[in-house]
Subunit: 302 residues, 2 copies
């Protein structure tokens, strides 16, 4: 499309094209040209390591959007609640979910120590203008305004004065029963397919997977109702879930997330909106908020 | 949200709520109440069976949107082109791709018999009003109008007089090099993550996986550039790819796809747009075209 426009222009006025503009930088070129200040080191108190036989899944928590639930999840990790529990549900094109396989059996279910059984639902929060937000100009099917807050896909509704995190690929949310406040963070899921945006504002989203997503997305699918595994031996054992800050420094994975409040990030979005790589024939001109997986890298060594 | 509105109304006028409307049918209830005429039996000439060690992947082809490419893919299946070739690329949150692992080696690559090396690009087609299309009223980030054509997610641009199929989960497209017409259907991919809609109109989409998607989506991810497997022994062998019409009747899987041109389908979309199940606290009010996986079932026996 863009090429056709260029050809048309050249028929009208070749002179104006004598000095063609340099080709816009590609997504890869932009990241290669990034500076250390374009990246944010993740806070180890906001990072979970979920170790399963397949490898380590790293989750970044966002207390700005779910402060009470994140605090409870941190408490659960500190009391080693999940160690030895399992991934019990893998529904294709939807979610991977982990929980206590005996959660429905009062006599054998794992008890909490300091973590709380009841946590208020944080499906959305009162709009807080001090929480960072870079809106995308592109139209969104579901929300009046979508964009990014520190790397997390988020939405704002200025009229309703609300904000919430989005169910994009890798988002981590809180399983619950029918009452909206029936989740406490002990049962969590990660999105492994097309963004199930109809879950937005229906569950508390606490963060997103920033490394090791493939260890969840390639798990065998469950064939019970809703993708639950049908037999206990199919559950994927969780060795442990720990806060990075509770792990010795030398055992941590030091990760950086591309900052979403920089001029570079704005260029990166534009490079994804209108791809300049030679392969692309047609430039989309738009981008979906869930089609912008925010880059993560190992922390650069000084 | 909906509940809050009801509460407000009841404060204004309890009388009008004395006879509450019956709760709308759920997605499940609608399908259970469907009639045989709400389903379309797939045409075995438009169905591919891809047999891999994990199981059978069933792909429905749509010649309305890519007639020349579909014809070449049918020819390739008839000459058993893919038998013994492999899945060579599994990129997380993107695509699974199958091809001749020796495609770059002129001396050892597999030759075509009757299939054509050169096929025109069918990235989009001139808008043909005789091709069925049920538009969604919901706004779309990428295209002026999106909806369904016989179960395939599709778009129309009335101003540009074009139509094309969308890259939703399970869509099957034609791998190509930089020239838009460099794909001939021998190298195909299926979408296994968030809909990569920036590929729309950049590649020829020939159909979608209608059964066995999990056999592709749960494959181990490749760790070479672009998710290609790094060693030939990692490739997933393809036993065979056949047209269903070339398989003895008793070995076929007779599938039906929910028709997308019926009153039931309109109700089904509405039930997904505003979920009436007790679990849902907030009704989204909108639906993304790629968040409507069209139901497929085994053909009902008379």
């Amino acid at each position: 499309m863009h090429r056709l426009i260029l050809v048309t222009l050249s028929l009208l006025s070749t002179a104006t094209l004598a000095q063609p503009e340099p080709k816009p930088a590609t997504v890869t070129e932009l990241l290669e040209a990034s500076k250390p200040t374009d990246w944010r080191v993740v806070n180890p108190e906001h990072v979970l390591y979920m170790d399963i036989p397949e490898g380590r899944v790293v989750i970044e928590l966002d207390p700005d959007f779910a402060p009470k639930t994140v605090a409870n999840v941190q408490a659960l990790a500190r009391e080693k609640y999940w160690d030895g529990l399992g991934i019990v549900r893998v529904q294709d094109n939807y979610v991977v979910q982990w929980a206590d396989p005996n959660a429905e059996k009062p006599e054998s279910k794992r008890k909490f120590k300091k973590a709380r059984d009841k946590v208020p639902a944080e499906l959305d929060l009162a709009l807080d203008m001090s929480v960072p937000f870079q809106p995308l100009p592109d139209p969104d099917t579901y929300a009046p305004a979508v964009g990014f807050s520190k790397g997390f896909a988020a939405a704002r509704d200025s009229a309703a004065k609300k904000m919430w995190l989005l169910h994009c690929y890798g988002a981590v949310g809180v399983g619950r029963d029918n009452p909206p406040d029936s989740g406490n963070g002990a049962e969590l899921y990660a999105v492994i397919g097309q963004a199930p945006r109809h879950l937005d504002r229906n569950v508390t989203v606490i963060g997103r997977v920033i490394q090791g997503m493939e260890f969840l997305s390639s798990l065998p699918r469950g064939h019970g109702p809703l993708g639950f595994y049908e037999r206990p031996e199919q559950n994927i054992p969780i060795h442990s879930i720990r806060l990075a800050s509770d792990v010795p420094k030398k055992e941590r994975i030091e990760l950086e997330v591309l900052r979403t409040d920089t001029p570079l990030f704005a260029k990166w979005i534009e490079a994804r909106r209108n791809r300049s790589e030679d392969w692309f024939h047609y430039k989309a001109g738009h981008i979906d908020v869930c089609n912008l997986p925010i880059p993560v890298r190992m922390k650069a060594r000084p």
